[in-house]
Symmetry: C2
Subunit: 335 residues, 2 copies
């Protein structure tokens, strides 16, 4: 028995859980249907990836970062260069910035507005047939960009959220272009969400009667409620908890964040703190989950992992073309 979970383009395929470490091995552990895995590495993500890069024939491959003047674009450039990827000196930008040159990690990057994009991308792929594009542009033009990637046939990692996602998937499916598409690039957050989703699917109602409190704190410029929080709450609902989105305690005031939430001052302008607290009906049991991110390095590292993952899929001519971060996690670059 298997099932499929979907969450913002995240798909989990999971065979029936027949095990818990809690239970005697003779009963369960051997019945888990899992791929045999090699022993875990003991070293850190970067070292692991570096070793993989050095050993792999796909590397160092070139990477083109569209939207490289934005905060995420810059963070990805740094993470990419730090693992030895080659930065393409061209990037898509708004028409206002077109023609400008910006320096990123020692490379001068020429910015190209919408009218130049097709010509630029064609020349890039001519010179660098193994290029991977990373997109951290803006929701308003993301569908146009995807259409272009598909027309030219360049594999891409989509880090930009928003736009018409359904149309995006359709475009990519029709073009059979390789892509990793995910609104959440933080691998650890994705893994946490996937685990919660599995819990909700496998054990619905486990937390029936429990009350839930949710707090999320983000930079003041973020007006809307955290999408991740919405996903988590949807899982808790499956677990039997009754909760409405307007019950979320949303913190956007920097003073409160600094003094009460404990966000470091340097990260007031970019953080994502989340806290979920469950209490049993008789108040004797509580569960708490927190995931707190400062800055963008977790997303940048996840994006680079996604790019490396995608390069291996292109090289191996994998049948499957569209991936998400669950796929990246599962076949992970970190092992």
């Amino acid at each position: 028995m298997g099932f499929c979970l979907q969450s913002s383009g995240v798909v989990v395929r999971h065979k029936s859980l027949k095990s818990s470490l809690l239970f005697p091995r003779n009963q369960v552990v051997n019945t888990i249907i899992r791929k045999q895995r090699l022993p875990r590495p003991k070293f850190s993500m970067c070292n692991t990836m570096k070793e993989k890069l050095e050993k792999s024939s796909i590397l160092p491959f070139p990477i083109m970062i569209n939207g490289c003047t934005g905060k995420m674009g810059r963070a990805v450039a740094e993470a990419a260069v730090s693992v030895g990827l080659q930065l393409i000196p061209k990037s898509f930008s708004s028409s206002e910035k077109s023609g400008e040159i910006v320096q990123l990690c020692g490379t001068n990057i020429q910015l190209h507005g919408p009218s130049e994009r097709e010509g630029v991308l064609s020349s890039v792929i001519d010179q660098h047939p193994n290029v991977i594009v990373v997109d951290y542009t803006v929701p308003s033009t993301v569908n146009e960009s995807v259409e272009l990637y598909c027309k030219i046939g360049v594999p891409f990692v989509m880090g930009t959220s928003g736009g018409d996602r359904e149309a995006m998937f359709e475009t990519v499916q029709d073009a059979k272009v390789y892509a990793v598409i995910s609104p959440q690039m933080g691998k650890q957050v994705v893994a946490f969400l996937a685990a919660l989703e599995i819990m909700g699917e496998e054990f619905p109602g486990t937390f029936s009667g429990y009350s839930l409190e949710v707090m999320e704190s983000h930079q003041a410029s973020k007006v809307d409620t955290s999408g991740t929080v919405k996903e988590v709450i949807s899982c808790f609902r499956k677990l039997g908890v009754s909760f409405e989105l307007d019950q979320i305690q949303k913190i956007r005031d920097p003073k409160t964040q600094l003094e009460m939430v404990g966000v470091p001052e340097e990260h007031l302008s970019g953080h994502a703190f989340h806290r979920y607290h469950l209490t049993s009906p008789d108040q004797t049991v509580s569960f708490e989950f927190q995931h707190n991110v400062c800055g963008r390095s977790i997303y940048a590292q996840g994006t680079v992992d996604a790019a490396i993952f995608l390069a291996t899929k292109v090289q191996s001519k994998a049948e499957k073309r569209i991936y998400n971060m669950i796929d990246v996690l599962r076949e992970g670059n970190m092992r």
Copy 2:
């Protein structure tokens, strides 16, 4: 590095360097959140179960609680009676207590020492062929008891931990007796552990390079390290975290529990608080998980759910005979 933690209406104060990523002033945050406490759920677990009981043809069935003078036995008796189960007025006890009568939930229970057990159990099953036995006795005699349950052919829920588990499973398998066997009856804790286990199996190495801090607090009489903590750490290891058991911060001092961990005074003699804190190599990301249990009601309720689950399996003549709490969760009584 240090932290203190309060739960169930409680507070966390983090003093470590990494604590800036958490909610170091959680006390204030908690206060804010708690002031806005949400309406209590419309129904409790017990009500849900009661409704199910009323609708079900298997109920009310009789339940025999062996070890009913212990704290868990008493808690299960209360939980069982509260959902309408019929308490059998006989219970296995030590030879010292044999012959005594104890009152539980308004029922006088006759205690029977080892020499009387077979005769007593035979007469119980003659009079109550649909009885379910719950065992909260002692590790030293648990295998003998299981042999007897199997000889007589009575379905049972095994809440007693310890004993020779491998032999126990063999005995039950050979006898084809229906049983739920689990050393952890807290359904929500089991679900949390199962989710972590899935994460470890599906996404090994996701937390590579992360550092882990673990705190567990239990009543002073508990000498050994929490088994649940060991299971959780084993999952984190699969997720790529390097951690040795001697790094666990084990708290057994009641004063510390009261003042720093935040255990309510009335639960100093029976609680299980757990906190796991993960920090990324660059200190920008942290995850925290807590599960805090006061008293025994979560285990007692889980045991009663297991008994109800087992009664349905017996009634439907299910092919599978031996179950664990994952099975109970999956087919849950609470939905």
